[in-house]
């Protein structure tokens, strides 16, 4: 079976570290943290008062009417999609729009709209909800908003596999282009779940990081002995995937080539990760890309900073990479941008593409106290510019057990 090569020709992002790929990556390389005290009216009722919020004013980008009819998650997605299309220099007036699809990932969809409805109903005793409630809350609202905005009539799907949602969406979009079902795919994820109810639910799961008393921005400590958990974040990232021949023919800037995708389910426990399951997805991605483990020059880890994830992921990497494992730089950029749930894999994939483009590896910050169970090269605290890398890997694992692993390569 002949398959097409897939180019990454555009990127768009809304993140706690900036709303362009350039700003986001510059901040990552500088080791800056986007984690801070949550700016919201319910912060006093939270045990965990830190989060990674995106600095995003919808009225700067949309009319009042449009902003009011889109949940924050769709606002993020629509803005990131616009950036990605512009970055790819796609002239949609000249395109067969039935050959362009949209695959997005999200964990909670329109969380704020659902919660606002419940507040009206249960707290305020209202008789009616806002007419747009269903349309704002539904999980496919973000992908639909992009299709409507740009008239894109190709396949339009929303994937929800918790923390790996946007790895799976990018991977499945890759398959669409690779196998000729589409010529161009917008793929990524969006999440806006910093609502009172959602944060409280995460608190109850005891998965959230304690605030670092000296520096709230340093609260997320992946792979460190003193790590205490993850920090919730919000944002979106969308990439343009395109048939490589077509991209070359139109003279597009090819940021990177998407070469590998692996996915599977641990099928072992709802929350506890399985190194064997993770290793299977990593192997599958390598097989898809036709690469050997030692070809990988950088791994952007799932690296949530929970007690269970980081040793399990380390073990999974060792299972696949064997004797090469200690030589492969691995970092968790979640230490800086937090965990964006359904958007996190897409945001981290943008970090990977930028790492390839700039030949620079972002660090894991707040890694001062080693954990004997986490003994790889995690690029502690300081990024590495001027590092030759040809192939990079992005790992994403999830509650519910679905893994997604992506490999991008220098074109």
């Amino acid at each position: 079976m002949t398959v097409r090569r897939v180019a990454i020709t555009g990127m768009g992002i809304v993140s706690p570290l900036g709303n362009t790929a350039h700003d986001f990556f510059t901040n990552l390389m500088a080791g800056k943290s986007g984690i801070r005290h949550l700016q919201t009216d319910f912060v006093d009722r939270l045990d965990t008062k830190i989060a990674a919020q995106a600095d995003f004013d919808p009225l700067q980008h949309f009319s009042k009417h449009k902003a009011n009819s889109l949940d924050r998650v769709s606002q993020f997605a629509l803005y990131a999609a616009g950036q990605a299309i512009t970055d790819a220099r796609l002239d949609l007036s000249q395109e067969d729009k039935s050959r362009i699809g949209i695959y997005l990932g999200t964990g909670m969809g329109g969380a704020a709209s659902v919660e606002e409805g419940y507040i009206r109903l249960y707290r305020d005793g209202a008789e009616r909800l806002k007419p747009f409630t269903v349309l704002m809350a539904m999980n496919n609202a973000a992908a639909s908003a992009i299709a409507l905005e740009y008239g894109l009539t190709g396949s339009n799907l929303t994937f929800s596999t918790a923390c790996s949602s946007s790895s799976v969406s990018i991977g499945e979009a890759f398959q669409q282009v690779r196998h000729g079902y589409a010529d161009v795919m917008l793929a990524g994820g969006a999440e806006a779940l910093l609502t009172f109810g959602t944060i409280k639910a995460w608190e109850a799961l005891r998965a959230l990081a304690s605030e670092d008393p000296a520096d709230p921005g340093a609260s997320c400590k992946p792979f460190a002995g003193n790590r205490t958990g993850l920090v919730l974040g919000e944002g979106a990232a969308i990439v343009v995937l395109e048939d490589m021949e077509r991209a070359i023919a139109r003279g597009a800037t090819i940021h990177a080539e998407l070469t590998g995708y692996g996915s599977g389910n641990d099928s072992s426990h709802i929350t506890q990760p399985s190194p064997e399951g993770q290793a299977r997805a990593i192997q599958a991605a390598l097989h898809c890309a036709g690469l050997a483990p030692q070809d990988i020059g950088y791994i952007n880890a799932h690296g949530t900073a929970t007690p269970l994830n980081d040793p399990a992921e380390t073990a999974a990497i060792k299972l696949v990479f064997g004797e090469h494992a200690p030589n492969i730089p691995v970092s968790s950029t979640k230490s800086m941008h937090g965990h964006l749930m359904g958007a996190t894999a897409a945001v981290e994939f943008v970090a990977c593409v930028m790492a390839l483009k700039h030949q620079a590896l972002p660090p894991t910050i707040n890694l001062h106290q080693p954990d004997p169970k986490c003994d790889l090269d995690y690029i502690p605290n300081v990024g590495r510019p001027n590092t030759a890398v040809k192939h990079v890997m992005s790992n994403s694992f999830a509650f519910g057990g679905t893994s997604g692993v992506l490999i991008a390569s220098k074109p």
């Binding site: 009319s63 009042k64 009417h65 009011n68 009616r128 806002k130 007419p131 349309l135």
Partner: protein
């Protein structure tokens, strides 16, 4: 509270329109207000006037149709 003026202000605010363009005779179609947006306007009117618009409402074409509907319900529901 004048029904038309209040409704005009709701529409002008929601859609960022010049209130002068919102006349009683204007059709919702001319104002580029679709059926979904009409529900949204009715929702705001319900809150503003303290009325409840039944789900099976008569066909609405113009701004005046909405005003007439609201006035009727205000009287029926004792919120005038």
């Amino acid at each position: 509270m004048d029904t038309f003026e209040t409704l005009r202000d709701i529409v002008a605010d929601k859609f960022e329109r010049d209130p002068a363009t919102i006349t009683p005779e204007a059709t919702l179609e001319e104002l580029e207000i679709d059926s979904l947006d009409t529900f949204d306007i009715i929702f705001s009117a319900e809150e503003k006037f303290g009325i409840k618009v039944p789900n099976d409402q008569v066909e609405i074409k113009t701004v005046q149709d909405v005003v007439t509907l609201i006035d009727r319900l205000r009287t029926e529901q004792g919120k005038a």
